[in-house]
Symmetry: C2
Subunit: 460 residues, 2 copies
């Protein structure tokens, strides 16, 4: 590994220059106005992988093209699928950028550009680590399969279809994704758990049209009154969801996890200050990190009904509705929760109101076992690359592609984020620390090494 590490140091400037090349391509996927740049970015990534001698294709999908490349099989060693994306968020509002979004600019050790951290910079670390192996050792210690898509920012439709169709070709032992954050500056992390989601829309319909609240109030049921009653019934005043059976399948936090979370340098007052709130609340009996990462939650995401303008209007609304969601943890089943929710809500729907409950989205929570050999290999590699062992964290959000890999390929994902939570992903002045870029490449190179030592059964 010494020769390899030396190569990485020697090539630093070129690696940065190449990242800048990719960042200059405005491969925005959200508006349908950048098809040419989308293809150009896909071709740029494909050319990088082809240049390493990997069998490489730019695959047309139902959505944007997907770059697929694979290295030679390595007998007895794992097959590792690297997922990333070359598309980016739009740069708006343009006026707030200090340097133009598609002219990568170095300032204070960071590289500023749209896509710098999300995900061009993080994704490229795995290509550059492969290059280092191939240019120094001559071969990779594991078989790598690169799957780099171009519509992550708009729902990953094409790549999801492709994974379903090409499950055999994409077969692997583990997936690696770098598209997230460290725990904090100087403290790398492995995200080993993601929450699932059960997202609903509730629509209540009362009278044919808005009515005068004086003439009809007290006689005709008000859908907005009914809505608040039904939604308030879903959670009690100590933050416990009241849908019967909701907690039945929840895997409790282990003592080890609770100790680990408690040992993290998480400062509630800094957290509150950053968000602009005077207090925190949630399920009684759990710390803030436990609630954010490992306990199921309930949130109203949107609510509407009646008059929302200035002043007062004495209307009894004809309709009211809300979008709301439960974040789930293993082993909660979104289908089971949907059924229990409907059974809970239906008897609460008052006379004169028609209720429509729409199931918008369901996904299970995921936890990668902490004692998996892949997890251990990742921890070792991070310690090599960052000079400090990672902390193990969970995340309250969902990453749908991780569920896709779990469900369609039957494999776990290592979420190894090189970013920082102030990198302004999706905002003006997106940045990526150049030091973290190089640490990420070095970690990735060590990851292939550590994963290569894991013995796996030969595939049929």
């Amino acid at each position: 590994m010494a020769e390899l590490d030396r190569y990485l140091v020697e090539q630093r400037e070129r690696f940065e220059d190449e990242l800048c090349e990719l960042l200059r391509i405005a491969s925005v996927s959200t508006d349908g106005q950048h098809a040419a740049e989308i293809r150009q970015a896909g071709e740029w990534v494909a050319a990088q992988l082809r240049g390493l001698g990997l069998a490489t294709e730019l695959i047309d999908t139902s959505g944007n093209p997907v770059v697929y490349a694979q290295s030679a099989p390595v007998a007895g060693a794992p097959v590792v699928l690297v997922y990333g994306h070359y598309d980016v968020q739009p740069p708006d509002p343009l006026g707030e950028w200090i340097s133009p979004p598609f002219e990568p600019t170095r300032r204070n050790g960071n590289l500023y550009a749209r896509g710098a951290t999300d995900d061009k910079g993080q994704m490229l670390t795995h290509i550059k680590s492969a290059e280092a192996w191939i240019r120094t050792v001559g071969r990779l210690p594991v078989q790598l399969k690169f799957l780099i898509e171009g519509e992550e920012e708009v729902g990953s439709r094409g790549v999801t279809d492709l994974i379903g169709q090409e499950a055999e070709r994409l077969a692997c032992d583990v997936v690696v994704i770098s598209d997230s954050c460290q725990f904090g500056p100087g403290q790398p992390a492995i995200t080993y758990g993601l929450k699932g989601l059960a997202y609903f829309e509730l629509r209540l319909t009362g009278p044919r049209q808005d009515l005068h609240s004086g003439t009809f109030g007290g006689a005709v049921t008000n859908p907005a009154n009914g809505l608040t009653r039904m939604l308030a019934s879903l959670i009690n005043d100590v933050g416990r969801v009241q849908v019967p059976g909701f907690y039945d399948d929840v895997v409790p936090l282990s003592d080890r996890e609770r100790q680990q979370f408690a040992s993290l340098p998480f400062d509630e007052s800094v957290f509150m200050q950053r968000l602009g709130v005077q207090g925190l609340a949630g399920e009684q009996g759990y710390t803030t990190l436990e609630r954010r990462w490992a306990r199921p939650t309930f949130d109203i995401n949107g609510i509407w009904g009646g008059y929302q303008g200035a002043g007062s209007k004495t209307v009894l609304p004809a309709r009211a509705g809300a979008k709301f969601s439960f974040r789930l943890v293993p082993d909660q089943d979104p289908d089971k929760i949907r059924r229990a929710l409907r059974e809970h809500l239906e008897p609460l729907c008052p006379p004169g109101i028609q209720m429509e409950l729409i199931d918008m989205h369901g996904a299970r929570g995921i936890v990668v076992p902490l004692d998996s050999p892949f997890m251990q290999a990742a921890a070792t590699a991070i310690e090599q690359g960052f000079g400090r062992p990672p902390v193990f964290i969970r995340e309250g959000g969902s990453i749908p592609i991780v569920n896709v890999f779990h469900e369609l390929l039957g494999v776990d994902t290592l979420l190894l984020g090189w970013g920082q939570d102030d990198d302004n992903t999706h905002s003006p002045n997106e940045k990526f620390s150049l030091a973290d870029f190089h640490r990420g490449i070095r970690t990735s190179a060590h990851l292939w090494h550590a994963l290569g030592k894991i013995e796996v059964e030969q595939r049929a």
Copy 2:
């Protein structure tokens, strides 16, 4: 009265023609675009009253001009103030009118035009009845004071200021307003009770900006969650308001009122069909009419927060809010209820949320004693004019000007509506039955007669 009744029959066609003249003036007050027509309509009304020999002025106010006219004092007889308005709602949506809104058109015994019933047609009945007295008897049996304003549809600011400034000049024993409905076709009514109102806006503010509901849910309090909990706490599942002390000052329905309401031909199934609802609900222990007319109620008038667009967005909203109101009955005090509401809500506001409770509007409920001599006179007049005695009803809405007369002049108001509830006030194809127009004039003429018989103390 025989000569007077004959006069009314002879002049029917001219009365209708004159109403059409007034209806051709597009005196829309809501948009500020019709100042010329507003003044023209005010001048038309003033000319009518001046033509009867009344001392008449078009008074400029802080808002639109007010027509004021008064006849000679009649010793020992009451002073009666007739209130009405010459402004109208906008005609939109124009495309839905069968005949143009400002070209009055007769169809099926009705006159179709914007303002036909609200309030030009109803208001004019009192001018024409005065005309009949003056042209036949030569004088009025009571002193009439006409106060006809031009911004009722936008809040009556100018006339309210004027009443405050000119309380002495406007001093009277009773107010008469015809700007409402009969109980049903062929069944005239006197509205003897109006509800009051306590209208609020509740704004809850959480984090500085919308947050990701996965990353922050369960830790940061969701203002929309808090809002539904706080609003749901205001009323229980049998329709009882839960604000402490809310019912303390409620004057209960008398047995006589309950019997009267019960004897009215009110068909719940027709009512439900018309509104398009499958059921009715409200405070337990009261009939639908009792709840609508004489029991306090709680309605959410508007509610908002978070994402209201299509699809799903996993956001924890920074803000949520609602407009809501209580309809009050005598002797509930809106100020007392506001204080009790604040005391009730404040402890329910969860940690991390800032609560702002805005008092938008307060008015007391009003009931005119059924045994008042003015009420009896009105009943007698209606029986003469409509050939059928009125029923006595209450109304769930508020009419702010009635409170103004009560508070600033210390007098009760007789609400004598000649309209029907399908007259499309505020909607396309507004109409007024021509038979009811003439019955209204006749009733009004008999009302001056009946009121003239009431002995009142001489004013200082």
